[in-house]
């Protein structure tokens, strides 16, 4: 299955969340791979702590593959090449976890041609044979990468594809997330241009809220009562706004709570971070686990 991670604005935690989902899915025993389609800033290696690819690879990555310079993009096995001990020890029963990074120094493409599209289609089809889940991390906003992905999936109707739109729980992000999907030149418009059926495509798009402050949780114990009451009211208004903008609970796949570890260092959260050093919150891992399951759970995508 192909899963595309996209967001309208930067800083939503799109990459770190989707990386963690992939990691959780691998721990659940599935073979997963992660494609860095954030061409303008190919830094996803840093999240997996693969130092050879922290700013993209030098051995021929996604950029050079799509431009036809190399026959296959470099693959990195995260279980063996990560610098983190906690990640490098592949637990028994876990699936493959492979990273396909961009090129160091590679930049955003201005447009794409038929050849490039063919190469992209071939890449997706090939990976689909080998992996259960292919996470494609697209750059923020309306990008060339998103066009390419929509065009490629339109040619691969047999491969199930799903879209995750990441947004933070703020007024601006809610409006932006809706715009990215339903606005002019949004995902739906572009998708239809490339031959997708609008209704079928909208059924495959779900929203993921990131850096969510859980009002009921202990994080709020230190707030003054007035602040808490203010936040409750804001939250209620945001809900209404989200409902009006089609970003409400019915189209939400899950939410990821605000976690200091994610906030200050974008990284995979291992079980040791929660149970051992306790630097990360168990709720965060729970949220990732839940998302990793729901991504492939058809009933979660059934909708109303």
């Amino acid at each position: 299955m192909l899963v595309f991670a996209i967001s309208d604005k930067g800083g939503t935690g799109r990459s770190v969340t989707s990386s963690n989902i992939v990691y959780r899915r691998a721990l659940q025993g599935q073979d997963v791979c992660y494609l860095d389609f954030d061409f303008g800033s190919p830094t996803v290696g840093a999240i997996f702590r693969v130092s050879t690819a922290s700013r993209g690879t030098t051995k021929g990555g996604m950029h050079r593959y799509l431009e036809g310079e190399i026959p296959e993009p470099t693959r990195i096995d995260v279980w063996t090449e990560s610098d983190r001990d906690a990640i490098r020890a592949k637990p028994a029963g876990a699936g493959q976890m492979v990273l396909l990074p961009g090129d160091e120094g590679g930049g955003e493409f201005a447009t794409f041609d038929g050849e490039m599209l063919k190469r992209c289609v071939r890449l997706f089809a090939g990976l689909h044979e080998q992996f259960d889940l292919i996470m494609v991390d697209l750059s923020a906003g309306r990008s060339f990468a998103a066009h390419l992905a929509l065009a490629a999936t339109a040619q691969l109707p047999r491969i199930p594809a799903r879209w995750l739109v990441f947004h933070r729980w703020t007024r601006q992000h809610i409006i932006a997330a809706n715009g990215l999907v339903r606005g002019d030149h949004g995902l739906l418009d572009v998708g239809v241009e490339h031959g997708h059926d609008r209704d079928a495509l909208i059924d495959r798009i779900r929203f993921v809220r990131t850096a969510v402050l859980e009002l009921g949780s202990g994080d709020f114990a230190h707030l003054r009562p007035a602040q808490r009451s203010w936040l409750n009211e804001i939250d209620r208004e945001l809900r209404e706004l989200a409902t009006r903008h089609g970003v409400g609970l019915t189209t939400m796949l899950g939410k990821v709570p605000l976690d200091p570890v994610l906030q200050w260092r974008e990284q995979l959260i291992s079980d040791d971070d929660v149970a051992g050093t306790e630097i990360a919150n168990p709720e965060t891992v729970f949220a990732f686990d839940d998302l990793a399951k729901k991504i492939v759970d058809d009933t979660a995508w059934e909708g109303l």
């Binding site: 009921g216 809900r239 409902t243 409400g248 609970l249 019915t250 909708g303 109303l304």
Partner: protein, 612 residues
């Protein structure tokens, strides 16, 4: 008040969801098994708060709040919950319809034989009961409103089709329930000299005057009721002869369809209208219940959502007439005379010579409903408050039961026996056992508390409500599976030996209903006293004057701390002015604080000038 309706309701939802779901399966029925009433009560535990309280709504999956989702986690997430409700409502409507789609309102396992051990016949089980009609009215209105709103969030064809199907079936059941209620209304006419007439006159005659005079006065004050009853057209009770001014009468609902009740002519699809066996005798319990149930038919929600079509509206109007007249009748009898009210003469004695605190409570319900509607004066309400307190005492809720106080305890467990006359034609004599005394008392108490204008009466009633609630909480289950639900009377009464293990949806649903009422009234603005508004106004004038003076005297030095004190005071006083009309006490608190700070500044200045 110690009650927290939102918290309590969420706890009940969590408990009810846990008790009802067994994996993906739904567990119907409780203590007395599954039947058309108990299952409706079980569903209403969820549907009623969802349809009455915006914070608890389940029909708009996008807007379901987090604490609600947490409470209902056993059922599913915000999308699954409404889908699950569709399935459950579908199951309910299928179970309680015959193969032609005619709705069934049988009392089934709620019927008990008068002599324990006797076998109830299947014809008896199928007999319609007013309780089932009234629960169905509430449940179907909740269902229709839920479907109407939920439909807006749905785009999938199969779900939309299911919603339309449920809508039409729910409408059939609603119409049939209304027809049933119209056919179980009854007027009982009797001679003043008959035992019934004597009982009624004895009740009315609290001043102990001559029977003849009481009779004449009573007839006179019932004239309006009599005229109203004469004008009834459709349903039972319309063919009774009330022309003889010497005959006494009573009106209300029988326990089921009245024997020989005429069919209600309507274009609505309601199926065959069953023959009844109930004699033309109104029952206090069923009358009070019907009166509470049918109110939803003309509630604001029903009107705003346009839940009734024209034909249904016609039936609802006919019911509303009966509702009006019945309330008026019982109110007139219960508050008759200039001395002590018959209602205050506890326990109430029915015309068939039965006496119980439970009947007093039933009459109180009707009187309260009437008082709510007519915005009664505080003198009347304070008398009703007295009756409620007395009932709580004698039912051993606010007073400890003495040893072997069996009659008071029996009111709660096993409950008051109501003999269902006429049922013996089809088998053994049936009875109906009602054990909702405590919660009904609590409901009435809160009702009266919300309409009284007098703070003293309200305080009194709130403290009574707290005590009754404490009693009810003792009867809550504490063991797993049914934890947090009701009803276990052994928790409150030592004399009740047998511990219950099964949930009573009958009791639990009434608690939910009560908490919803409480939540609805808590959101209204508080009562305000004119005196307090005036006082706050005077105080504000002084504070603002002092503030102005402070601003004139003080040299402007922007970076010093004092000016920010002045700004804070000014902000606070502005706020006080803004809320003074609605919340004078809060305004006064703000003004007080400002006055203190202003005085501190003034005192400091005085001290400085003294030292010169």
């Amino acid at each position: 008040m110690k009650l927290q309706p939102r918290q309590q309701l969420l706890e009940i939802w969590e408990a009810a969801a846990r008790a009802s779901s067994q994996g993906k399966e739904w567990r119907w029925g409780g203590r007395q098994g599954s039947n058309s009433i108990s299952d409706a009560e079980q569903l209403l535990c969820f549907m009623y708060p969802a349809s009455e309280l915006p914070e608890f709504r389940l029909d708009t999956p996008d807007a379901t709040s987090d604490d609600v989702l947490e409470a209902l986690a056993a059922i599913g997430d915000s999308v699954e919950i409404p889908k699950r409700l569709l399935t459950l409502l579908d199951a309910y409507l299928t179970t309680y319809s015959d193969k032609d789609g005619r709705p069934l309102f049988g009392g089934d396992s709620y019927f008990l034989p008068n002599e324990p051990g006797e076998e109830i016949t299947s014809e008896q089980r199928a007999l319609d009961v007013v309780d089932s009609y009234s629960m169905s009215v509430t449940l179907m209105l909740g269902t229709l409103g839920f479907l109407k709103v939920f439909r807006r969030s749905v785009t999938r064809q199969d779900i939309r089709a299911k919603i339309s199907d449920l809508e039409s079936r729910a409408n059939v059941r609603l119409s049939a329930a209304m027809v049933g209620l119209l056919r179980s209304f009854t007027i009982n006419v009797f001679e003043p000299g008959s035992p019934q007439g004597q009982a009624l006159l004895r009740t009315a005659n609290q001043a102990k005057v001559h029977d003849r005079r009481v009779h004449d006065d009573l007839q006179k004050s019932l004239e309006e009721v009599r005229a109203g009853l004469r004008d009834l057209t459709i349903g039972s009770g319309s063919q009774v002869d009330l022309d003889n001014p010497n005959l006494l009468f009573e009106c209300g609902w029988a326990w089921g369809v009245v024997k020989n009740a005429p069919e209600v002519v309507t274009d609505l699809k309601v199926g065959e209208q069953p023959k009844g066996v109930a004699p033309e005798v109104p029952y206090l319990y069923f009358t009070a219940n019907a009166l509470v149930g049918v109110v939803d038919l003309w509630s604001e929600r029903t009107r705003v959502l346009g839940l009734l079509d024209d034909d249904q509206q016609q039936l609802a109007n006919a019911l509303q007439r009966r509702w009006d007249i019945t309330q008026n009748y019982w109110r007139t009898v219960a508050t008759f005379g200039k001395d002590r009210w018959p209602l205050e003469d506890i326990p109430w004695r029915t015309t068939d010579g039965k006496e119980s605190d439970y009947y007093s409570l039933g009459v109180t319900a009707m009187v309260v409903q009437y008082l709510v509607r007519t915005r009664a004066g505080d003198v009347d309400l304070s008398r009703v408050a007295g009756v409620l307190e007395e009932l709580a005492r004698s039912a051993r809720i606010t007073r400890r039961p003495v040893e072997n106080d069996l009659s008071a305890v029996a009111l709660h467990h096993p409950g008051v026996k109501v003999t269902l006359l006429g049922s013996e034609e089809l088998g053994p004599q049936l009875i109906w056992q009602v054990a909702d005394f405590a919660i009904t008392l609590l409901k009435r108490t809160i009702w009266v508390a919300t309409i009284t204008q007098s703070n003293r009466t309200r305080e009194r009633l709130h403290s009574l409500a707290d005590q009754i609630w404490a009693h009810i909480q003792q009867r809550q289950f504490t063991h797993q599976q049914v934890k947090g639900l009701w009803d276990n009377p052994a928790g409150a009464f030592d004399d009740v030996g047998d511990e219950q293990t099964q949930v009573s949806w009958y009791f639990t649903e009434r608690i939910v209903e009560f908490l919803v009422t409480l939540a609805l009234t808590s959101r209204e603005s508080p009562l305000r006293s004119q005196q307090l508004v005036e006082l706050a106004g005077e105080m504000l004038a002084e504070a603002e004057h002092l503030l102005n003076r402070e601003q004139v005297i003080r040299p402007v030095r922007a970076r010093l701390g004092a000016s920010s004190t002045i700004t804070t005071i000014a902000t606070r006083l502005n706020r006080a002015r803004k809320i003074m009309g609605e919340r004078p006490a809060s305004a006064a608190a703000l003004i007080n604080q400002s006055l203190l700070e202003l005085d501190q500044l003034a005192a400091a200045r005085e001290n400085a000038s003294e030292a010169m």
